[in-house]
Point group: C2
Chain length 542, copies 2
């Protein structure tokens, strides 16, 4: 295996990719090298910025430099001693309708120049195409992929098999399955450029996840043309391992200044909101006194610093088990990114399958977008399929979450224990105490120290979708367990009447005795009395 | 006036504060200088990092160095040629219960050392105190404040009048009014340190806004002890102009690495997620081979770079009119920060009064937290108090928002115009077309190019609170206007049935004829037919 996974979170991972020029660490960004106009020299990208690999275009090399890169070897030609990747001209097929070389020539050229990672000459689907046209690109890409394995002569190059289908997700699924069944080292999601240009990150998220479900999970996935740091986090979270960026240079040429949360035009800036070595000693005003070329190099280098820092942030977040937090924050850089994050909940089971279930750090819950988090899916699944309440439990006493965690150590629980003690030993055994909390739903009190039930922070007040999720999960729990009665202590200030009505309804449906005590409407002493009376009544009735 | 406001957004502003040592720009962070252990020399803070001012503690100076800073002058003593601020020992009163100097001595000392900005010796309220104790601190602070004006002898120092009251908001309001009535140059929110240590940023937000409402809006507000960059954005958004940070140095001593979205322990880091000149050439691994002192200096400098960059980001955001966007993003660094942002909606009218209503850039709407935005408050207020529908308008045709903006140029509107044309000139005049859109609610089509009705992007799908807001605003609009009929084209895929039921209800209440056509259930041709029939029916009935 050329790819070894070292750490993971969500569908993101830190991996080691073994190329013939050395091992590189993923998530990895390949700056695009244009040998004829290059604002930052390739070797400088590695030595100063720390980019371990670059990408260039085999089709353009062949067209413009013909045999020279073959004779010199790609690494010497680029004057770069890291890993190299080549694209094949497929993007040019999309833009210009065709290229003058066939796949055989391109594959031979990529082998000839000795690139480390190479792409077959696939047919990109594009954005505004009918399903029929899209199906043709998928079929032709598959045909070429199969054909490619008869053309290749070297075994030391990692080959990329792109997945096509565009926004037609059933075609993406079919393409991923077909391409995934062939012995490629790496896959790529074909030309998402137009999807991104149209800010349809929601569609892109679906495309990535669909591709991801079809290809073997242990192979890295490259996202072509994704060069803006604001989207690296969500792309990695959804399973992309490799990226390439021409944007750093294109933006620089157009006077545009990247940040991890958006783009500015240099001319509109009064401050450089950045600490990079270039920005630390410059202001927009002083930069504007310099030559166009100097400005372009400044911007290109700044853009590269921003990209490499964001990748480090993502890697650190994977190590910390906090990639969701980083992703949710970044998706607040643009509504189109948040729209993409909102799609993820549809795939929450897929996320939960591959994301680790124990982490070294707690979980921050903000809004219902977080309901897609694997920790929540994993917990509810374990609770509903593997958990059984204590054998003697007859009545479920369901309490609202406390500010302090673990819940059983909160001051409020002291009073509850008083109530239970008054019931006497025999009855006490029959009461099963659980808490309903956001975002997890019902948490039996004896489990409340299991990760992450005490290791989370939630923004209050809760949003409605979160309250509804907790209500649904509580209903599902009560439906599956066989309590004879449920007593709910409702905290309407935080929860309104959602939980109350939902729990009442499932109790009626199951013919389970239901009692409710409202917190916050009577004195604390009265509340305890009420709870005792209600519990005693329920226990005696069973 | 010592303070001149250059630009503003929300309650944040870029200002020029004139001190006797020169003009400094706000929002401004004063790094705390401890003359006996200082990891970064004061002059380096200015020359390398760009901090224009520092703060130190007059009480500690007097106690430890006695007359030396008076003889040398504070600037020479600190070897710093920027602006200086001194705190007074009030924080030490909070921590130790008292200090050995009285206000007269402290004020004389602050004047004697020639600081540029000085603080009276107020009595901090603290966190865990009863309302009675809190009231005493407010009263004593007020008494000392009045007394101070008899003590002061120099007119070239800017004096800070702290507002006390702690979490007791009525006391904060009273204190702000009292202190604001005295001729201070600057105000401060007294010791919010414990509020922050307890992560009660929601309480802090209420304290800041309450103080802000009481003091003269044209005076700068200092937030004592707020030194973590993750909270600068919300603090500025709520009207804080000045901050001080000992955190950069304290964190460094404890091996902690700040970022604008949280804090890491150096020992837990595998990557430096930062571009600062220190992090660009170092890794956690290489740093750990260095001496404890070198590490501390590294961390202090990194922390300072992060702080200064965040302030630049905030200033640029104010210039761009995008401080809300930055704040909302930053508040996703910790649920306690988002809880604070969730409080802001209660003060939306106050925000709307002082925030500019026309900006150079569009508005990003993510989730219902954004309903606090001044643009929304301002629009609805203008619509409901200043707008009248066209004189002939009898029927309101209410259409769902389109993806393209301005709405009247969207492809869907072409079809609507076809329908209207079929009605004939006479009837056409009687139909008033409006769109309901998130987050603004009803937008009469003829207004749809007014800022920011076309200059916004919204994350889809909408959350429930946003849909409810749009429904409420639509109800309010219909209630106030005098249409004879309302025809609603409902898009249940995006809006569910909230808008439908809400509009129906207000129509029944007002005895206004109500018709509904459901989009997405029939062919586009059928839909147009249905709309025509319904409109004709309504118009004929009037």
């Amino acid at each position: 295996m050329s790819f070894e996974i070292k750490d993971k979170d969500l569908l993101g991972r830190i991996g080691k990719l073994r190329t013939k020029s050395g091992i590189v660490e993923t998530p990895l960004l390949f700056p695009v090298i244009n040998p004829s106009v290059q604002p930052v020299l390739p070797q400088r990208l590695k030595d100063v910025f720390g980019f371990e690999a670059v990408i260039t275009n085999a089709y353009i090399l062949k067209k413009r430099y013909q045999n020279r890169p073959v004779v010199e070897g790609l690494h010497n030609f680029l004057k770069f001693n890291g890993a190299t990747m080549t694209d094949s001209g497929a993007y040019q097929i999309l833009v210009y309708g065709g290229v003058e070389y066939d796949q055989k020539e391109i594959v031979a050229y990529e082998e000839g120049i000795g690139t480390d990672i190479a792409t077959i000459l696939d047919i990109p689907t594009g954005w505004r195409v009918t399903k029929e046209q899209a199906a043709l690109t998928v079929a032709e890409t598959h045909r070429r992929a199969k054909d490619f394995f008869n053309l290749k002569t070297r075994n030391d190059i990692l080959w990329v098999g792109p997945v096509q289908g565009g926004k037609h997700l059933d075609l993406v699924a079919a393409s991923a399955k077909e391409m995934g069944s062939l012995p490629f080292d790496i896959h790529a999601l074909g030309s998402p450029t137009e999807v991104m240009e149209n800010y349809r990150y929601d569609v892109l998220a679906e495309m990535i996840l669909t591709a991801k479900k079809g290809i073997p999970i242990e192979r890295p996935l490259h996202l072509f043309g994704a060069g803006h740091p604001s989207m690296f986090a969500i792309a990695v979270a959804l399973g992309c391992d490799l990226f390439d960026s021409a944007a750093y240079a294109l933006y620089a040429r157009e006077g545009r200044y990247m940040t991890e949360s958006g783009t500015w035009r240099l001319l509109e800036m009064d401050y450089f909101p950045c600490t990079c070595p270039r920005c630390a000693t410059e202001t927009p005003k002083t930069l504007l006194t310099k030559s166009v070329k100097e400005r372009e190099i400044f911007l290109a280098e700044h853009n590269l610093w921003v990209c490499i820092a964001e990748l480090k942030r993502i890697k650190q977040a994977i190590r910390d088990g906090r990639l969701w937090e980083l992703t949710e924050m970044r998706c607040h850089a643009h509504p189109a990114l948040l729209s993409a994050l909102k799609r993820v909940v549809r795939h929450k089971d897929f996320l939960a399958t591959f994301s680790p279930s124990i982490k070294s750090s707690g979980l921050f819950y903000f809004d219902h977008e977080g309901l897609a988090r694997p920790e929540i899916t994993q917990y509810t699944k374990r609770l509903l399929t593997r958990y059984t309440p204590p054998v003697n439990a007859k009545v479920l006493l369901l309490l609202p979450q406390t500010r302090n965690k673990p819940f059983h150590k909160a001051p409020e629980m002291k009073k509850i224990r008083q109530v239970l003690r008054v019931l006497g030993l025999e009855l006490l055994d029959k009461v099963h105490v659980a808490v309903f909390c956001a975002p997890f739903g019902v948490v039996p009190l004896e489990l409340d120290e299991v990760y992450p039930l005490s290791q989370h922070e939630t923004a209050l007040p809760l949003d409605k979708e979160t309250i509804e999720y907790v209500a649904e999960q509580s209903v599902e729990y009560i439906r599956q367990m066989s309590y004879g009665g449920v007593t709910l202590l409702n905290d309407s200030k935080l929860w309104g009447s959602y939980i109350k009505f939902a729990v009442q309804k499932v109790c009626v449906e199951k013919s389970v005795c239901f009692e409710i005590v409202e917190a916050g409407q009577v004195s604390s002493r009265q509340l305890i009395d009420d709870l005792r009376v209600v519990l005693q009544k329920q226990l005696n009735g069973l």
